[in-house]
Symmetry: D2
């Protein structure tokens, strides 16, 4: 079974009645419930208010794929935790930042860029168009998904060009957004997925759940080689072969 940890800031749900109505068990609870139906995953949740944000070494080291939702309190995640998450991704853990987690510390550190965008809360319609239908993350999807209301995000999204661009979103108010972005980083894989604003029931949808399941399967640790690094012996004693040429080369050919 794949070990999935769902991390949630878990603040809106406690502070806003409107949000609490949509996500009474928190966004993490909704995602856990939807993913849990299949029995395919060993699911844990973790939130900002837990000790070490719920991301102890024990939890992180036994996590195959980490899903992350955060918005208002990115800066409350300690740098050391964010750095641990980054290191785990580089060592092979899958990472799926959702929606406003594009500004979360671990994602920003992994991208190297500022990751800002345009945004607007305006109850607009979003259409998520599939751009690469043969990608494993598009398994069992229709050619587009329509969300009746979502927060609007707009380009330019300050990210490195994705290794694979899977989805582009259309918003009724006039914007587009690269809303499904795949990255390989170190030995790990990162899938940024744009929806789900806290005020809309996006994470209860079967199609969104399908995407998360596909992304978990895609992002789980690979079974490839772990490269050796640092000093490395030559295939054979190359130096001896070239030794005789050294002085003349240095003196006549290209040293000044």
């Amino acid at each position: 079974m794949i070990n999935v940890t769902i991390w949630n800031e878990y603040i809106h749900e406690k502070e806003s009645e409107k949000v609490a109505q949509v996500y009474p068990n928190g966004i993490h609870g909704a995602i856990a419930e939807m993913l849990g139906k299949s029995g395919e995953y060993n699911i844990r949740t973790a939130t900002l208010d837990m000790e070490e944000c719920g991301l102890t070494d024990e939890v992180l080291n036994s996590t195959d794929v980490l899903i992350w939702w955060g918005h208002m309190k990115h800066s409350d995640v300690p740098d050391e935790i964010a750095e641990k998450v980054r290191q785990r991704v580089l060592a092979g853990m899958g990472f799926i930042p959702l929606h406003s987690a594009h500004l979360s510390k671990p994602f920003v550190k992994l991208m190297g860029t500022l990751c800002r965008s345009k945004w607007r809360e305006n109850d607009e319609k979003e259409r998520i168009w599939v751009i690469e239908p043969s990608h494993p993350i598009c398994k069992n999807l229709p050619e587009y998904i329509e969300l009746p209301m979502e927060e609007t995000y707009g380009e330019r999204f300050e990210i490195p060009a994705p290794d694979e661009l899977i989805f582009i979103s259309w918003f009724s108010g006039g914007e587009v957004f690269r809303s499904g972005c795949c990255y390989k980083r170190g030995l790990g894989k990162v899938f940024y997925f744009r929806p789900g604003h806290e005020e809309y029931p996006t994470f209860y949808r079967d199609d969104i759940t399908q995407i998360l399941k596909n992304a978990i399967e895609w992002a789980k640790p690979s079974e490839g080689p772990v490269p050796t690094l640092g000093h490395f012996e030559a295939l054979e004693n190359v130096k001896d072969k070239f030794e005789g040429q050294d002085e003349s080369l240095k003196k006549h050919t290209y040293i000044k």
Copy 2:
């Protein structure tokens, strides 16, 4: 004129007689001399031993392209300086880390990965093969460049897949290396270029100088739009149009 700043750690040249013989004026001095021949650039140099590493706000803010050579003392560059360099790149400054600067703070921060590799000092031959001959960085180059002796680097190089892979190096001892890597990051451009170890006169070569000149031209700040970020108005009042549907949507369609 393009404002080029050449940053050098400048330690090997002062501490090793062997290196001092090759680069009596420092690696920065050699690059400055070679680039200066054409009179095309406004060149400054900066070193680790200068105040603020020679990278004051005044210098950075008036730099179009920053070349960076570092090796032993990456950690002596203060985090704030490294962060300032990163921010300047994201705002449009070109950045050309050379050789062991693949482990420099600004490059690692911009990549998000660990950027380690294999290495060996063995006087091996390097052949730098042109992979994308139509790229502007390949202007006036032959199809490969042979360096009689260089430090060997080997894959796996822990970088994000380059936006454009321009050169691949062959080493006589059995390794390959992605030695010319282009990245767009924020509004800036980054070109990582693999050669020149401090013990070899690589930076006096005309072909290497040609590559640096091509890279400067490619990496200099663009004249494209500076995107607006943050809250952004809709094209028209989309919300009103959908307002009437809210409750039914929430109750019947896809809320639980």
Copy 3:
């Protein structure tokens, strides 16, 4: 001066009064007029009704960048002409297919895929969003361009993932489209640009003209190396060195 050849099918303008009103001198005439204002180019035009489609060897061999508009009569372009265009691109000529030229023979041959898409003629609004503001094709552009009415295209667009995705279009009817796509192919560069339906005055716009000018500058032949191909001598007599090992290797190590 850059030699620009503008190829146009030139049928709609002769057969439809509505189109003739918008483009009395043909789409090629309008583009030629707009590009010609700066005096930077040596401009020729060619049309389907000319001998050899106006693309004789003499014309093609002296063309730096070929702009191509076609729609109804792609199949009337002889295969040999399309193949000549492809060969010229692979040898270094820039190629800029516009709008419905995504289904033109030379583009389809260069892509290898079918290049179909969704479409609708519905007088919708198009917003072309800049995704990579530091790319040379975005020089002097605003962050988006709004076309009050255009033909709508929609994903999925059956193209190889672009080497660089520069623009994404938003359409008021609910679609998105990768509308500025850069490819390196052989020694040549290809820029697919989505607008200009024949019924709208898109090609008279200054912003569209700016994009074409940027694309010409980007796509013009490079001055990089022309790689040698075919049989190629080894650096040194490698075979001799390994000769002695042949038989044992074959017998014992990995032959069955």
Copy 4:
């Protein structure tokens, strides 16, 4: 079970005693034998000398992944067969051209470029370095594979930049080569893999077989959406909304 068809030109093995000793049952036979050990595939073979090259509609339409080895007689494969293969790939079939199949008709058609390279038959050593260890095609591989003797290929390899570059080969004679190249084309996936010259027992190796198995798993048809194409209705009657503006727009705003 995945339906794998192995196509082989099957000429060298019949005409050269040396090759016949290495591949007494043909290269296709060796690959079939190695892949067959696991019982995971439904394997068929097809050769140039069969009717329709063994690639009847029935065979092609029931093939999930097509492996292709060819060298001397690329031009003997009829254009219609090559086109059928291309169409099947674009419709979702996986395609794995091996070694000199980089010049096979189906691969060249799918790439759009000429796909030539340097080459030399010199019994050189090849080291295939893993560049993207987390890619599914690298499952259960070491960080590099050493082939004691192989035909040498060298860059520049005239291909579109791969969507994902998995392997780079080093050759003892001084060349490098992009030897593991992933492409998505239409709904299908293509993996070009550089080794095995007909004179060496490369296809009997367990590591090479592992790569082929990984590639089959990666390239098999996806279960993603099949996009609709052609005319497509708007989300709502957008045209009506903009209708009133037409004339003024055309007259005053941006028509000449």
